[in-house]
Amino acid sequence: MAATEKSTKEKLLCVLDDLEVLSRELIELLALSRSQKVSQPGEENQILELLIQKDGEFQELMKVAFSQGKVHQEMQLLEKEVEKRDSDIQQLQKQLKEAEHILATAVYQAKEKLKSIDKARKGSISSEELIKYAHRISASNAVCAPLTWVPGDPRRPYPTDLEMRSGLLGQMSNLPTNGVNGHLPGDALAAGRLPDVLAPQYPWQSNDISMNMLPPNHSNDFLMESLGPNKENEDDVEVMSTDSSSSSSDSD
């Protein structure tokens, strides 16, 4: 079993040693027989036969060794091919990893978009409703005064006192929704219910709309700056405050 696992190189060297020993023995034997004139043909023939046998064995082993050399070349080519395939596979794996990363990012973004789309669908508002609401706002003269408006007209070009107080701005400034019966200081001033000290600072003809829109703790300078120098604004405010007075008179 161990002999079969012996490498060709070991076998060759072993047989070569045998050949060397046998050839030496043969030559020594022949030289001895020549010098002593005594021939021992049996032993000489035996060694010669062994030599021939070992020589044949050596030649066979050399053939095997040459064929193994060719196989070795083929194996080297295959090893190079394996290395090349390994580098190709590694390169491909690297590219696949990069692609996976890009795709994972894209999938995440797409999922986020789908979530937002679902959210938008759940809370969707039909365009008809939006248009209806726009009509409602414009019909209530919340954004501009009616063209045919004159002082004393009950239709008003801005949200009413109660609407302002119930809105977000009113809630932020904690305006009381009761107690003044839905009237603003301007209205109260017009009705003569506010202290006299406020009267010169907020003459209702010019600042009533500002008082309606802003919380009570706002500075007066801002109001004067934003509304004071503009003549058109003054006119508007006068016209609207007139309306306010009319509303206050209405509410009264």
Binding site: K9, L16, I27, M62, A65, F66, Q68, V71, H72, L78
Partner: protein
């Protein structure tokens, strides 16, 4: 001329093969020690002084043969082990080829269904 050159081109590989075969047979023939031993015996029979030269030739041939064997590639294994190694390398190349082919033929845009 052209017709004459065509058969030559086809003969060239055969000539190369023949040369290779001749080189191999020369190498194989050169592996035998019997001619040298035979020459030595002849010289001894003739009582020739060339016997020492022949003996030196035999000795140097053994040395060169040892050197050649030590330098030969691929004989560190037995033929059976070498064949097994060769087979495993072939399998490796085939497997890696299949793997590469599989990677290249992957459908990159197949969307997994939830």
């Amino acid at each position: 001329m052209a017709t004459g050159s065509q058969p030559r081109a086809s003969e060239e590989p055969e000539e190369e093969e023949e040369e290779e075969e001749e080189a191999v047979t020369e190498e194989e023939e050169d592996c035998t020690f019997l001619p040298l031993v035979h020459d030595i015996i002849k010289c001894m029979d003739k009582d020739s002084q060339d016997v020492y030269q022949e003996l030196n030739e035999l000795k140097s041939k053994f040395q060169s043969m040892r050197k050649q064997i030590n330098n030969m590639a691929g004989i560190e294994l037995s033929p059976e082990q070498q064949q097994q190694h060769l087979q495993s390398l072939r399998v490796q190349v085939q497997t890696k080829n299949e793997l590469l082919q599989k990677y290249k033929s992957l459908c990159m845009f197949e969307i997994p269904k939830d």
